[in-house]
């Protein structure tokens, strides 16, 4: 009979840092597009954090001489109607987009997780009521609900985040609920109950952590759709108010008439939005493949 060495058990249970790195390298090699997505996101995060260092001009200061200026060496992306430097506004716009995107995706997922966990774990009447609520919210397109919420709450950064977060709630609530329903029947939940753990504690300590993988996948996808929704809201004039430089609002200022006269005002902010969302989508696809292969499309 062979006996296992204690050290060996510990070694397999806790992977050393080197193995974690190897694990990561394995996924990086298998998902090159995910790495591209992560790199794009890194660039936008960098731009948002160091916006002051990356720009020479104040994104809100106007300069009549620069009104509708063509792209040049001094102002590489040109100037808008009020003579503000477009490059500065796009770099500072990354702050707004990421703040709104992260803020509303996280807030929406947090509320959705709480509702989904309660719905799936408690069941019964709680489940019934929450599910009807989710159905009601999901029957309306995200942008319409967001538009009405934004108009009702009034234009500000915080309200825009809230207006986008609420319509996203049903999606995470559904995913977490269905995961919770499966996890609730797991033997380890029964074991926890047998040793006398309280229901709340089981839900938070044993069920919730196991829903983390689909939650991360969902949150990444919602980050992209939150950025898109913010740009649509701002484009329609119900999103981020002046003087914040928002990519969507830059396009609304420059809409129809600049299509002929100043196409750079139309092209660059849209490139920024699309690239940022493209980055989250690439990253989201890779994360989904790694964390939750069952969801793979």
């Amino acid at each position: 009979m062979t006996t296992l060495d204690d050290n060996e058990i510990i070694a397999t249970a806790v992977p050393p840092a080197e193995s974690l790195w190897r694990h990561l390298r394995y996924h990086i090699a298998r998902h090159p597009l995910g790495v591209v997505g992560a790199a794009i996101m890194a660039v936008f995060v960098f731009a948002a954090v160091f916006a002051d260092l990356l720009t020479r001009y104040d994104p809100t200061s106007t300069n009549a001489a620069l009104s509708l200026a063509h792209p040049s060496a001094a102002h590489i992306l040109g100037g808008d109607f009020l003579g503000r430097d477009v490059y500065s506004r796009i770099v500072f716009g990354a702050r707004i987009s990421l703040a709104v995107g992260l803020g509303s995706a996280l807030l929406g997922c947090a509320i959705g997780t709480a509702l989904g966990l309660a719905s799936g774990y408690v069941g019964g009447w709680t489940d019934l009521v929450i599910q009807r609520l989710v159905e009601i919210m999901q029957a309306l397109p995200v942008l319409i609900l967001a538009l009405i919420m934004a108009a009702a709450l009034g234009a500000s950064l915080e309200n825009t985040i809230l207006a986008i977060a609420i319509p996203l709630v049903p999606y995470s609530a559904r995913v977490i609920r269905s995961n919770t329903l499966a996890l609730r029947e797991m033997p380890y939940v029964e074991a926890a109950r047998a040793v006398g753990m309280s229901e709340t504690r089981i839900a938070l300590r044993h069920v919730l952590p196991n829903t983390l993988a689909p939650l991360i996948v969902l949150a990444t996808a919602q980050l992209g759709s939150a950025i898109l929704t913010e740009s649509s809201l701002s484009f329609l004039g119900l999103g981020i108010p002046e003087p914040h430089p928002s990519w969507g609002r830059m396009l609304s200022e420059s809409a129809a008439e600049y299509v002929r006269t100043a196409p750079w005002l139309v092209i660059f902010p849209g490139v920024a939005i699309s690239l940022a969302v493209f980055g989250t989508n690439l990253l989201g696809d890779a994360l989904r493949d790694i964390l939750d292969p069952r969801l793979r499309h």
């Binding site: 942008l143 319409i144 108009a151 898109l228 649509s232 484009f235 329609l236 129809a256 139309v266 499309h297």
Partner: protein
């Protein structure tokens, strides 16, 4: 089956009731109604005038009374009057619906005609350069805001032809309609086509791995027949669900696209009404959108059972 349909219809009514309450409360959540907007725009506020206007519009009544008044009217086909134009809301909404419906129909047609074949190609040629290109194109489609794609198209038209295809007058013939709406429909449908392409691809990949496909190949069926006849038939089922969901949710893209292309449809009208707090228009339009979205979902679910004999509703 009959009980299933009745249960679904009752649930739909419940959901619609919930939506009506939600919208009604949301619109009245904040201080500031049409009277405030009009008077602040005029720059002078005479409290008596303002109170008179609020009384005329019924805004001084308790919220429950206002709600019952609205729903009671709705049951009789009376949608109230638009605050802005002072015309019956129904007369404002109805003529705008066909415009948006045509645009949406064209957009869905475009999305299906582009998305399904490209999705099949992508799956059949999995992991070839063609597959990678198509996957990146579809992912870009999901990343571009619809209004920006519209603006880009307008920019391209302005640069190449010197004129832009925006709505100036109502089309008369079917051909004119198609000509006028083709470009905006493509702009709004591109996102849906990207979604359809992705789902068709993954659904096809799953089906192509199954035994009956191998059997079909083994007995010498031509490649094209295996892909389109044997595989796509089963692979298209989840895609149909997606098309149904997208048809209901196309509204978001239509709102911005109608704004960009200056199309006087219901979607753009809704945004204007929201901005002006024109409650009767917003409430009724949102209910309309919800009814359309829920009905399409319901029809798709029934269609699903009709197309796939393995699915039975009880």
């Amino acid at each position: 089956m009959a009980t299933y349909i009745i249960r679904r219809l009752l649930l739909m009514l419940l959901t619609l009731f919930g939506i009506s309450v939600l919208i009604f409360v949301l619109l009245r959540l904040v201080p500031g109604n049409i009277a405030d907007i009009l008077f602040s725009a005029a720059g002078m506020v005479d409290p008596a005038d303002k109170a008179g206007l609020e009384h005329d519009l019924g805004l001084d009544q308790p919220i429950v009374v206002q709600y019952l008044h609205w729903i009671g009217g709705l049951m009789h086909g009376d949608l109230g009057y638009s605050y802005i134009s002072e015309k019956p809301a129904l007369d404002e909404i109805l003529p705008r619906i066909p415009i948006t419906a045509k645009l949406a129909g064209l957009a869905i047609t475009f999305a299906v005609l582009l998305g399904v074949p490209l999705g099949v190609m992508s799956a059949v040629k999995q992991n070839t350069p063609l597959d990678y290109v198509l996957r990146i194109v579809s992912l870009s489609g999901l990343s571009m805001p619809a209004f920006w794609l519209g603006l880009l198209i307008l920019t391209a038209f302005a640069a190449w032809f010197g004129e832009i295809p925006i709505y100036t007058q109502a089309p008369k013939t079917f051909l004119e309609t198609v000509q006028l709406f083709a470009v905006p429909a493509a702009a709004v449908g591109f996102r849906s086509s990207a979604l359809i392409m992705r789902l068709t691809r993954s659904s096809m990949l799953e089906v192509l791995r199954q035994d009956y496909i191998r059997t079909a190949r083994a007995k010498g069926a031509p490649e094209r027949s295996v892909n389109y006849h044997h595989a796509l038939r089963n692979a298209i089922l989840p895609v149909i669900t997606l098309i149904g969901v997208e048809a209901g949710f196309l509204m978001g893209g239509l709102i911005v696209t109608e704004t960009v292309f200056n199309i006087p449809g219901v979607a753009r009208f809704l945004v204007e009404a929201i901005k002006w707090r024109d409650y009767p228009i917003v409430q009724n339009l949102v209910m309309f959108v919800a009814v359309v979205a829920l009905s399409i979902n319901f029809i798709v679910d029934l269609l699903y059972a009709a197309l796939d004999p393995r699915i039975k509703y009880a």
